[in-house]
């Protein structure tokens, strides 16, 4: 069995938003739709204050609330853990967006472009199926599947890895198979202390945050 997960090393992330921009390129999301983004958070009060950058997006939960509330079965889960949306089935009810504890889902009702009218690049990447339906991070499943078909290893070979991971200039983002004990992500989780966001909700998210060595 395989379960694809992502890791964000909070010691490394600088909040530069390169992953945000790379995701927008690869997935051609419209303005203000950010399947990957990095939060800029403060903890404490001056002068005892810390600032931390936290990459967020769909956590590809093992027990995803978005899937349970979906009335049309558009939201499903692959055997490798990736949570998917079938745009042909989605009715755009947005129940999933409300149910998601991570605010990871977007819904765009009409075509929107950077400068009003579409640029050539936007025309080339436009997909009308994304209008009026829920969208979110796919873990770049198309890249993973195409890479696997070529015998490549997701999380190791760029061609088979999510765009955000490929782009990260701090090596903060990692991707791999948590069921493979020898994988990069399994090694990182074995060597470091980590948490998952809103773990108490029982969603079993597939997104881990490293914060210190063990």
């Amino acid at each position: 069995m395989t379960r694809w997960v992502m890791i964000a090393d909070l010691r490394r992330c600088v909040g530069c938003q390169t992953c945000t921009a790379a995701c927008k390129h690869t997935n051609a999301t419209p303005p203000e739709v950010q399947w990957r983004r990095v939060l800029d958070m403060e903890v404490g009060e001056y002068p005892e204050v810390k600032r931390v950058f936290v990459p967020v997006g769909c956590m590809h939960c093992a027990d995803p609330p978005c899937m349970h509330v979906c009335p049309s079965t558009a939201t499903r889960q692959r055997a490798d853990g990736i949570v998917t949306i079938d745009y042909d089935l989605c009715i755009g009810c947005a129940y999933c967006a409300v149910a998601c504890p991570y605010q990871a889902r977007y819904k765009t009702d009409k075509a929107e472009f950077a400068y009003g009218e579409p640029m050539e690049s936007e025309k080339k990447q436009f997909d009308p199926k994304r209008l009026g339906v829920a969208t979110k991070c796919t873990f770049c499943s198309d890249r993973i599947d195409a890479g696997l078909a070529k015998g490549l290893k997701p999380g190791v070979d760029p061609e088979a890895s999510p765009a955000c991971v490929n782009s990260c200039i701090a090596q903060a983002l990692h991707f791999g198979d948590i069921e493979d004990k020898a994988s990069n992500v399994s090694q990182l989780l074995a060597e470091n202390q980590f948490f998952r966001m809103h773990e108490e909700l029982g969603t079993d998210p597939g997104f881990y945050y490293l914060w210190d060595k063990k």
Partner: protein, 894 residues
């Protein structure tokens, strides 16, 4: 609109050098002739010290290409009146008409003579900072070279927006135009405002992330909690412009509160000026016959010796048996008063914190240890001090740079593995090679091309309007020097030229490229008003903007993904950009031009042809102005100087010469090979990162702690200026000191406030700025994707204010506020944060656009609109600091 099915997909290698922390090596995915995605060039992962990754700015390149707001053809102004309130009435014209108009002006100027009645060049040119436009302007430098005298000293941010003191003093002390910790080896960094995570580029971010995991500790000392402070072990919120006091206290602790043996005494004795004997008048004691400095055999010695002491203009001040003491003794006496308790009252940092930091620095210095690099055994001193903008420019910059370099010297951590490194030279020659620029100079130190200050050679008549050769000896006189002078003086003196200088005149023709001084300089309103009087402005224009609003001709040059150029990559340069490889990379068109734009090389060639300069222009390219000499040992790809060559002909020759240079003539690949492969490198030894062995091999010392040479130069310059009835530089001349004393730097800004009619208590906030990685240098403010992603980083939408202080003032998050000086005010939205001192406000980046499409609707101000352009706030290097005293109050919601 329907989904399209891709038929032909390809990836083309190119580079991004939109900011000085580049180049980033990337590929662009092109689907059926349309550029869609930027990705790292994964093939460069092993040769690039940042894993071949690409900064967020490069992800704006696709929008930059297809931006509907581009200038779509050459334009000419139809409204002869110029002003911010005037519609220029730009109308499209043909390239032929544009070239005709420009060439006619140039030929008229050439007929009159290159310089005007004041002796200033009639043609001026301004380019964006850090030399980045050179990576886009193709062969235009060859046109400039062929033309002759050009004033390149109209600043667009230089001085006030760069690390100016560091450029000049750093290069003087250790060939460090830019400075960096040896991050791959360093263990402990004290960073006074060096915003590496925002300004260090991919390599800086990559290396520091690795260093954090490795356990490197960085203490970030700055008034607000920047992204760099966020990624540091500790944030020390210091009061603005008091960093010299903090650094002096660290030196005091190391000198007086730790055992002397904890310092690198061998380094100080054998590799610095510490044992030089200083005489009663403050100059070195010298051998009466050879006039060489006399040295003690230990660091702390007082002696009476047969000696001579020579003053500023070679006059003998004393001769015979003279008393002297070592420069190190002078240092001890100088630093004695600067205790942590003294500093604490000034910089608002607890004395205990400074004591601890000084101790931790020594704890990590590994005094006495060595490391083997490339087979060389070198000292290993993994401690460094980094300085940021506003700390190392303007008043106080000299003191900070001196203290930083002294802290490195005390630990023997200067130019050795792990320590503080200079990473590029720009004022000494050769520009491309730090080590070759190390040559013996006077008194056992490195030579430095100071502008002369002796009676016979001082330049009383400036060659350009900012008078850098007259006023700033350290600015030298090389290709970069014009931009390293007091570049705001070019603008200021247009209003009133101070006594002794020839009246400053308007240039008759001004080229502007990849720069927007009407936004990016200090006192931008005054800069705009001056621009409105420029008689003829040629702007290479991407979109309309606040500077080309005043232009007469707009020329759209092909953008990053449309044009072609080969550049040098790697080696050692800007801050963290020291690599283990060096070579060349090609920027190539990934798609056909989207508007009626031309490649800058073709523009340059046409200008040369129409002005009769073709032969000199081609000859300049042959000599290497395009980055590589076309003739070398065993190869010759020189261009026929008699005819015009196409862009591809020129760059094919450059590519062949670069291939030959990299392979010692074995290969001569042309443009097609480079288009396919994108880049090529050869090894650059890590040992070349460190200057110490080169100095040691030549028996040269670092010129610290005592600044006899600078003191001498300052006295000479003062005499020259006074001999010419120039008294207006006296405050700046006081900066030339053998050992820099603390001055009340914050008070300087309060005094300036009083000068323009304000009381400090009415304007209690220090307004600062901070680098935006998403925008800095990029010329990308009109790109939607950049605006969108930058919005995720706090502060891009308004002014950051301490939350508790805001509450006391009745200001809530998102409230409209007015930020004011006695002279001007701007409006912003309040952004409440905890990570900022209660006496400080922060406006990230520089906005306040009023002409640039898209950006003019942001509604976010810039401190540049508030900062006065002032002689009083100009230091001896000709720079100012980006800081201004302001008030803030809530305004009614509209």
């Amino acid at each position: 609109m329907k989904k399209t099915v891709p038929v032909h997909v390809e990836k083309k290698a190119t580079y991004c050098y939109q900011c000085v922390a580049g180049p980033d090596l990337l590929t662009v995915k092109v689907v059926d002739g349309v550029a869609t995605e930027v990705e790292p060039n994964f093939a460069a992962a092993d040769i690039h010290p940042g894993g071949g990754k690409v900064c967020v700015k490069a992800y704006g390149l696709v929008q930059k290409l297809y931006n509907p707001n581009r200038v779509r053809s050459p334009m000419k102004r139809s409204n002869p009146k110029k002003g911010r309130d005037q519609d220029p009435g730009f109308v499209p014209i043909s390239w032929d008409e544009a070239f005709d108009t420009i060439a006619k002006k140039l030929l008229e100027i050439r007929a009159k003579g290159l310089t005007d009645e004041s002796g200033y060049p009639r043609v001026a040119a301004s380019f964006g900072g850090g030399g980045t436009p050179q990576s886009y302007m193709g062969t235009f430098p060859a046109f400039l070279g062929a033309w002759g005298a050009i004033d390149m000293g109209f600043g667009s941010g230089q001085g006030v927006k760069c690390t100016h003191s560091e450029h000049l003093y750093g290069e003087f002390w250790h060939r460090a135009f830019t400075v960096s910790p040896d991050t791959p080896l360093c263990e402990y960094v004290i960073s006074c405002g060096a915003n590496t995570e925002a300004s260090g580029g991919v390599v800086g971010v990559w290396r520091h992330a690795d260093a954090r995991i490795r356990g490197m500790k960085r203490v970030q000392v700055e008034p607000h909690l920047s992204v760099t402070a966020a990624c540091s072990s500790e944030w020390v919120p210091i009061k603005p412009k008091t960093d010299p006091a903090f650094l002096y206290a660290l030196i005091h602790v190391m000198l007086f509160e730790h055992a002397r043996e904890r310092l690198d005494l061998d380094f100080l004795l054998r590799h610095t000026a510490s044992p030089y004997l200083v005489g009663p008048h403050g100059f070195y004691l010298r051998d009466p016959q050879t006039r060489q400095p006399l040295l003690a055999s230990t660091l702390e010695e007082r002696v009476t010796r047969e000696a001579i002491e020579i003053g500023a203009d070679d006059e003998v001040l004393a001769q015979g048996m003279l008393e002297g003491e070592t420069a190190f003794c002078k240092l001890l006496a100088h630093m004695k008063p600067y205790t942590p308790e003294w500093a604490s009252n000034i910089c608002d940092v607890p004395a205990a914190t400074m004591r601890r930091i000084a101790g931790e620095y020594l704890d990590h210095a590994h005094i006495g240890e060595t490391i083997v690099i490339d087979g060389m055994t070198l000292p290993f001193r993994p401690v460094a001090v980094a300085l940021g903008k506003t700390v190392n420019n303007g008043w106080g910059g000299f003191e900070c740079c001196w203290a930083r370099t002294m802290l490195a010297a005390l630990a023997g951590a200067l130019e050795v593995p792990g320590g503080t490194l200079g990473t590029t030279v720009r004022l000494n020659r050769p520009l491309s090679e730090r080590h070759e620029s190390v040559k013996p100079g006077p008194d056992g130190f490195m030579a430095y091309p100071l502008n002369p200050t002796d009676k016979e050679h001082w330049n009383a008549k400036p060659n350009i309007r900012n008078a850098y050769r007259t006023l700033v000896p350290l600015a030298a006189d090389g290709p970069w020097s014009q931009a390293l002078g007091p570049t705001h003086f070019s603008w200021m003196f247009l209003g009133e030229t101070p006594p002794g200088l020839p009246r400053v005149t308007y240039p008759e023709l001004w080229f502007v490229y990849r720069t927007n001084p009407a936004i990016s300089f200090w006192d931008t309103r005054q800069v705009g008003e001056r621009m409105a009087s420029f008689p003829f402005v040629v702007a290479l224009a991407y979109t309309r903007d606040e500077t080309n609003h005043f232009a007469d001709i707009l020329l759209p040059d092909q953008m990053d993904l449309e044009s072609l150029q080969l550049i040098y990559i790697g080696g050692s340069k800007y801050i963290e950009q020291f690599w283990k490889n060096e070579g060349y990379a090609l920027r190539q068109p990934v798609v056909a031009p989207r508007v009626d734009a031309r490649d800058f090389s073709d523009i340059a060639t046409e200008l040369a042809r129409r002005t009769g300069l073709l032969e000199r222009y081609n000859a300049s390219i042959n000599r290497g102005t395009a980055g590589v000499p076309l003739k070398g040992e065993g190869w010759d790809f020189s261009l026929d100087t008699a005819r015009a060559h196409s862009r591809d002909e020129i760059w094919d020759a450059v590519c062949r010469a670069a291939s030959a240079e990299l392979t010692e003539g074995k290969e001569t690949h042309g443009l097609d090979w480079w288009k396919e492969h994108g880049l090529r490198v050869k090894p650059f030894p890590q040992s070349n990162w460190y200057l110490f062995p080169t100095l040691a091999a030549q028996g040269l010392r670092f010129e610290l702690p005592y600044q006899e040479r600078l003191w001498r130069v300052g006295q000479q310059l003062a005499r020259r200026m006074h001999e010419n009835d120039m008294q207006w530089w006296d405050n700046q001349l006081a900066e030339y000191q053998p050992l820099p004393v603390w001055k009340d730097f914050p008070k300087l800004w309060e005094t300036e406030l009083a000068r323009i009619g304000g009381k400090p208590e009415d304007f209690p906030f220090w307004l600062l700025t901070s680098r935006s990685m998403q925008y800095a240098w990029g010329g990308n403010v009109g790109l939607q994707i950049i605006h969108e992603v930058a919005g995720n980083v706090a502060g891009h939408g308004g002014v950051i204010i301490n939350a508790k202080r805001a509450e006391a003032l009745g200001i809530a998050d998102g409230d409209p506020v007015e930020i004011a000086t006695p002279a001007k005010s701007v409006r912003a939205k309040a952004v409440l944060r905890q990570g900022i001192r209660p006496d400080t406000l922060l406006l990230i980046a520089q906005f306040d656009h009023w002409a640039t499409p898209y950006a003019k609707d942001f509604g976010v101000p810039s401190m540049n609109s508030l900062v006065p352009m002032s002689m009083n706030l100009t230091d001896a290097t000709g720079s100012g600091a980006d800081v201004v005293r302001v008030s803030i109050k809530r305004t009614p919601r509209t």
